[in-house]
Symmetry: D2
Subunit: 337 residues, 4 copies
């Protein structure tokens, strides 16, 4: 199943939080295009200090041409990542896109309409990067063991399939790895997820779903990049099928919705997202935010919510490889009725 | 959907690892009944020092009458757990059941045929226990905050539904919380999961699935208990819908299958289970074991397996509340073909 | 023992790394004064985007007038921190001070000559802040427990003693809580320690010792603040005896000393500093950096260094309360001869 | 400085908790000798299921002949640990020694009079063991990296010095790595520290100091082993200078002192010991126990104790390599007056 079936994916949207609470009540505004040329310089840090590339209104649609996490520099399976990549210039971000009227204490809603591969013969890239990944010593989990070999894999893909190997073909299930609004005064490298969103690598931030992000600065300053043609839970080797994509987003603004961490809405569930180390802290953040959400907006008693989640809570690993790990905690909408 | 539909749940078994590699090749032997009377004393520690309650042969079926995790002592919503429960006498286990011919280096396969509530008007118990749970300070994550109030919830249930509250009814989705073979020389309290299995609280150890456990002592010494009528991922408040159940298991023995951690097989996937703290270590164990499994038995290169799991790996939270946390890492069987 | 005995504290400096490898070979240059007036706006984020307040040369001495971590806003024991403090405007930093000639790949050496309390009747402040501290649920270690009460303690002090209570008087043992050079492109809030230094809260960054910091941007951009009149290992309640101080620093530049994390030199030992979560990762970073240092500059084989540290390594907790925890790993100079 | 200077080391004992609260009020009873012959079989698991080797009275002195952690099997630098060592048969323990009158809820006090090397030309052993240590992937922190090479180092030593290498000579500073009373129903392998004591690898459990252990079973069942001729904080490579020793202990019994975790008393300070993962949980346990101790026995208010420890608390790493990590938290006795 591809991602261009916009009409189907969005059928549930009329009943969504985005439509019910967003300023535009689900209406679609103007379409903007953020091409590579318009973007100019890509960003490796997410904060309030960079020049906006465009301003949109709530309800507007934005078509963004993203580069892959390596900015396209890994071109062949013979390339050696350590020769090519330079920290901290990894994971180029498009933006910042200003959203008219956004102020600290609001939430931006981002509905992902579609994600399409760029180019004639689209290919993704996966690789093993030295001292990066979930089952190796890293910069932070510092080890004396020798690193794994550097391996690059270039993978053909289209809107149906990811042609992983002769043996294995995977479904094309794209998602956005890095989505953020600016922190208030910090500027955070695009590899790190936190309260602002960032490099969550959460598979549920995908076509047909809505992501809500807290606004901390005027205009929100939306950044986006790091598209994955598919990714497992945890992104265990540190790298998904990284690819350049054309993504279509629809944004809205929920005034006065003062959320502390990113949230996701799908046709079936609501999810809160926590990013921290150790991994149990990411989990704690996500589940506590979900308790608070259920209390505040669905009329649950605090301990009822906690005990109910013990029976029906869903937990989804985003990444277990970035400087902070990401978990989503979710509950089915049918238990919230 | 209830759990007595044995014939359906087991339709896939003929093609399972259990049937292909178990001594009995899927054939069913004699049925044994382990009643409360036969069990006599229940166990709170899992090891090689207790008296066996019965001996079965590979292929045999065992019907076990389990008590709930509180040994039935929490009878009313007015009860106060701290008055009633005494550490370490929590989570009573049936067994040990000796499996003829089991030796160190083998694996025991446990297929769960069914789980049925005991008694006329079956009820489950959920509660908040002082300094226990995923979002509170605990014995190990020691805090100075006051504990939460102690709350007890008694919940009616049948083989279709768990009647959680006036507002919320949940599906009956039972699983076994604690399943183990004995460690070699240690005896581990029944609250703690580890390499021997133990209190994994993993929802996938449920009717229709097979769990494989490493054998460390002659006869394997199988223990089982801690049935849950339903449980969310993480068992976040520390307690599921705990209930006394009649469970029907079928066991087999895979000679010389020297696994280091528990494994699970379902119709759709294979899963490895890790238990450790911090939570990322549980995840690392599970994913590494899965890499090793793919290498050894499905012909994958080590780094191929690692990179493929980065695209399609599934991660499932068992518990995030016990002395060790539990995660399962899985891959769909269709990617292993 | 007070901190004004500059001549004694620095007696060892001639043989220090700072004197042997710094551009100025231990010579002292001009003295600069960074008063509150000169500072103007204080900073709450450490990065490359703020306006420099002065430029100094290697060898120069800088006298800095710091504010306490609450910018002096907690004036009385009746104050309630949650009414007064606003995240992220905590822990005001002086600077950035530009160091002539500093370039990426160099290290800045900061020798702390003295730390003196400011004002006529100097007082420090300790308090309990909601959801902050080592034995409570926090923003990241998210809990449902009620927070501790907010308590403020104002403490008289002088250059000999900290008059904690009627019962307990403590020695005045000041150190600098937050010391940094700018990251390359990120701007990191002043509460968080990392590779750039930051809020390490490491008691060994004190008068008589040298701290080395990696340079990532031209001019290094030195920030300093957060003085403590005394602090235990771990800063367990999250707050030391916070006080405004006049500190005298001497800086030098070690060209081409490309260190990855902060380092400390004292008369007796060399120390590497790691900041991360979980705490074992901070420890791993610190000990690995120390292995690397012993290999590169003291002629040890990698495994010799590792095994020797297993016998004589010293570990010092800095903070266990900030967004990243800090540990120093050290070895006595006598084992390096 | 050697360890046979019993008279000096113990000069402070008259004022110790052991002398003030122990049944024998500091008086010394009979001396027992636990030779290898008397011990017979050594133990690799600490619990209530093994045969006592002797019974002593409070106040008695016990001279114990311990084996090294490898049971003497690593004899030469050419030995390969993975050929010789077999999990779980590591870290052999002497005992259990029954202490007359000990009951659940009491504490055993163990004063270490002396530790002397055994044999004519005493040697210790250090080595690198595959997938064990603080800076490598391990069984729990599972990695795909290749393990480090296995290296064995045999080290001459006497009661003054440890002759580490041509370059480095270390002081002989012995301590007991593993000291325990039995858990109530569990039997815990001798590599793991926990509430019962166990493999804490805490350098402060050394001649001249007292260690207090909680009693959970009649007779306490004291186990001891794993002597180190010296060890750094954290025991970073996983192995200290392991050696067979003759240790002289004096035991007493504090009736009704119901402690939850081990405690240490030295001439200068009192210390609580926590063992857990992640490392911050070990720290939390230790500091919380110290707060509780200060409240209960030194008249501190809870928050006073917490805030005071933030200024003067000492933290000491025991091990960061065993299945649970160990930290001690301490306060100087002069602040308790």
């Amino acid at each position: 199943m591809g991602t261009d079936a916009t009409q189907d994916l969005g059928a549930w949207l009329d009943g969504s939080i985005m439509a019910k609470r967003g300023l535009m009540r689900g209406k679609v505004g103007k379409t903007h295009e953020l091409t590579e040329e318009k973007q100019g310089v890509f960003h490796y840090t997410i904060g309030p200090y960079s020049e906006p590339v465009m301003t949109v209104k709530p309800g507007d649609r934005i078509v963004v041409w993203t580069k892959d996490a390596f900015e396209g520099r890994i071109k062949s399976e013979k390339d050696k990542p350590s020769d090519i990549l330079e920290v901290p210039f990894l994971n180029p971000q498009c933006g910042p896109i200003m959203i008219e009227g956004a102020e600290k204490g609001d939430a931006v809603a981002v509905y992902i309409e579609s994600m399409l591969p760029r180019g004639e013969n689209p290919r993704g890239t996966c690789c093993l990067i030295k001292e990066f990944g979930g089952l190796v010593g890293t910069t932070y989990t510092a080890m004396l063991n020798d690193p794994l070999p550097e391996i690059v894999k270039k993978i053909d893909l289209d809107t149906e399939k990811v042609y992983w190997s002769d043996r294995v073909t995977l479904p094309y299930k794209p998602h956005i790895g890095t989505l953020s609004c600016s922190p208030q005064i910090d500027s955070i490298n695009s590899l790190t997820p936190d309260q602002h969103g960032g490099n969550m690598d959460m598979p549920d931030i995908c076509p047909g779903h809505v992501c809500f992000l807290p606004v901390k600065v005027p205009g929100a300053r939306l950044f986006v990049g790091d598209c994955h043609a598919c990714q497992g839970e945890g992104e265990i080797c540190g790298v998904a099928v990284e690819y350049p994509a054309v993504i279509t987003l629809r944004v809205d603004l929920i005034k006065g919705w003062n959320i502390d961490w990113p949230r996701i809405e799908t046709p079936e569930l609501i999810m809160t997202v926590g990013s921290a180390r150790p991994l149990e802290d990411a989990m704690r953040i996500a589940y506590r935010e979900l308790v608070f959400w259920m209390m505040k907006e669905y009329g649950f008693d605090k301990y009822d919510a906690y005990m109910l989640l013990s029976q029906v809570g869903k937990a989804k690993l985003g990444n277990v490889v970035d400087p902070k790990y990401t978990i989503g905690a979710a509950i089915s909408k049918r238990h919230l009725a």
